[in-house]
């Protein structure tokens, strides 16, 4: 069934799809966004329930394989030590992300030139700086200006409370003489534009019923829908169509909630499905022109998958840390070990993030993103009564390097509920990353002890399993069509009316949460589209 054509078709209503829709709004083009999930209704936020923690292991798990909701697609991660996590719905993974909002740093865009690894980006920090600022305002970012780890900028809202836990750890970093700073967060520290400030619920992963967290369901989408952008939900794109004569994308086929398959035509197609969903869609869009998948003449679609492998270290303090009070992952961030240092056994670096502690059920079951329950019996009682309330922890967030063997492919058997082939992840930790994790654990222990921890909890060697939040690199940008999928402003080298705007176009990963950069990049690409509108498809 064919529908009325649109000018711009955006696939995915998450972080990047929303940002580029906002950027293109002023063009007055007819914009349609197709989203496989739906709006999250106010009544569906689990944090309004007394047993809210249960949702974390069911319909609000970060893992689509656990949720198994109709809008989710399964992901085969049997050949990976990290499984991707996400949310499918209006807001995308900004529904259940934790709101940590650090920017990438200038060196992150030049890893080849500076450190001989990865590749240089075709853009740099200063190209993106004003889009970071713009997006911070639209999102409602809180933080403290003057961070010596960055070129100067000031978030629009004052920092959220560090709390006792953050203050304690900050003193530990000061004792060591190491960098730390109050975290930039996409969480309101004060009421803003009809949105309520953070109530310190500590359950950011369960959606933010207060609207304080800057999910695009609360930031961009209300504004966009009011302005006339059409958001069609429960619309799962099966493939992107191309005209064999011109080589241009003509639109998509999508499965609607009524069970029918529709053809939606568009002049411009923008893919915003994240670092797993985007290569999956392109690889599923095979044609005579593109037998290996759409826009894949370089062979790079799905390659160079990067996560941010994580591990955590926790210390036991003498006083309750009240770590469940406040945004669950954001208090302070140290970038002391972010840049390369020739004295270390690895290149590039990592951040030390102060996770607050989690709620009792999640702690008992092993922690957020980990399936490894704490001991039962007398030891259980001892841990929950005399350890859990006194915990403070640090998370080691490492920079993953691009490696071609880490990739997204199509599973030969697994499909979603519409019969569309599902993605398969093949991923292993690089030696450089392993060295970083080891180094980071040792430094985290030092800080915790310096901050007053009376002991450090033992931990396993494994990286966190449900930690594939940040899915990057699988459709990398670059100037060389033979080595990249899109150019320096997100346009496919092979299909000139096809753009990609999500984390898949990252060239390297940095060691920071990527959403701030994903959206800044989407706004940058929107700006380039507007600037080049007269010659857009040349």
């Amino acid at each position: 069934m064919k529908l009325e054509p649109v000018d711009v078709l955006i696939i995915g209503a998450g972080a990047s799809g929303a940002a580029i829709a906002w950027s293109l709004l002023e063009t007055r083009m007819r914009i349609l966004c197709l989203e496989q999930g739906d709006h999250l209704l106010d009544k569906d936020f689990p944090s309004r329930r007394e047993d809210y923690e249960l949702a974390r292991y069911a319909e609000f798990s970060c893992d689509p394989n656990v949720r198994g909701l109709p809008q989710d697609y399964p992901i085969n991660a049997e050949d990976s030590c990290i499984t991707p996590v996400n949310w499918n719905g209006v807001g995308g993974s900004t529904i259940n992300f934790l709101g940590h909002w650090p920017r990438m740093r200038p060196s992150d865009f030049r890893t080849r030139s500076l450190d001989g690894v990865g590749e240089d980006w075709p853009v740099d920090y200063h190209d993106l700086a004003r889009f970071y600022d713009m997006n911070d305002r639209n999102t409602g970012v809180s933080g403290l200006g003057g961070n010596p780890a960055y070129p100067d900028y000031t978030p629009p809202h004052p920092p959220i409370p560090m709390g006792k836990l953050g203050q304690t750890l900050a003193r530990g970093f000061n004792e060591k003489g190491w960098h730390w700073w109050p975290s930039d967060v996409a969480i309101l520290s004060e009421n803003d534009d009809g949105r309520q400030k953070c109530v310190n619920a500590g359950t950011c992963d369960l959606g933010c019923a207060a609207g304080a967290k800057g999910g695009t369901n609360f930031t961009y989408w209300p504004m966009l829908e009011n302005a006339g952008v059409e958001l069609r939900t429960k619309a799962r794109v099966r493939e992107i169509l191309v005209d064999e004569a011109s080589g241009f994308a003509t639109g998509v086929l999508y499965h609607a909630a009524d069970g029918q398959v529709y053809e939606q035509k568009a002049e411009l197609v923008i893919v915003a499905c994240n670092g797993v969903g985007t290569p999956r869609l392109l690889l599923n869009s095979k044609s005579k022109l593109f037998p290996e998948g759409l826009a894949n003449r370089s062979g790079k679609v799905g390659k160079n998958l990067m996560f941010h492998p994580l591990t955590g270290v926790a210390g036991v303090f003498d006083e309750p840390m009240k770590g469940h009070e406040g945004p669950m992952a954001c208090s302070i961030l140290s970038q002391e070990f972010y840049e390369s240092d020739p004295d270390r056994e690895f290149v590039r670096g990592y951040g030390l993030h102060s996770g607050r502690s989690t709620t009792p059920m999640t702690y008992a079951l092993g922690g957020y993103g980990i399936d490894n329950p704490i001991p039962w019996g007398a030891e259980h009682r001892e841990i929950m009564d005399n350890v859990y309330p006194y915990l403070a922890g640090l998370t080691v967030v490492t920079e993953d390097l691009p490696e071609e063997h880490n990739c997204v492919t199509l599973d030969p058997d697994l499909t979603d509920s519409d019969g569309i082939p599902a993605p398969k992840i093949t991923y292993r930790l690089g030696e450089n990353t392993q060295a970083m994790l080891k180094h980071g654990e040792a430094r985290a222990q030092e800080v915790l002890l310096a901050a007053g921890a009376r002991r450090i909890l033992p931990k396993g060697d494994k990286v966190w399993w449900r930690a594939g939040w940040h899915q990057m690199g699988t459709c990398r940008m670059g100037n060389d069509p033979g080595a990249s999928v899109v150019n320096g402003w997100g346009r496919s080298h092979d299909v000139k009316n096809l753009f990609i705007v999500d984390g898949s176009i990252f060239v390297t990963a940095g060691a920071v949460n990527p959403t701030s950069t994903i959206q800044a990049l989407a706004l940058f690409i929107g700006d380039r589209i507007k600037t080049n509108i007269a010659t857009l498809f040349d």
């Binding site: 292991y57 500076l114 619920a201 500590g202 009682r381």
Partner: protein
Amino acid sequence: MSAHKTINPQLALDAILDVLIPANRDRDIPAAGELGVAAFVTEAAARNPALNSALVTLIARAGELAGGITPHTVRQLESELPEAFSLLLTETYKGYYSRPDMRAKVGVGSHPVHPAGYEVASDPPALLNELTAPVRARGPVFRDPTGGQA
């Protein structure tokens, strides 16, 4: 869950749960069995065949072990039937800590966290200034290969 011939499955399950999460009498914290977590577990088992099968197997084996339900016999169950035991343990923790009153026993609010959340005071500017002073004093800690040029 089906009954076992030699023991009362309800009593056996309560006893196992009491061992998994024991009481702290000094702080008036009940054990999992006495709290009634068995109801949560059996309800979950009614929806989850794997868990149901695990329960049946564990309770049957518990009935065969001499000496009743003790930490020693529960350890034996864990050793002999690790997958079934893991399913039960996970569900026990879920059942116990989904109880708001048990959250409160370990220092976490019993209320739904929205809309009330928690009161956390903002950090006074003077404190922020004091804490960040040594960080600022060390100066920039980033490399900027473009020298700040857009």
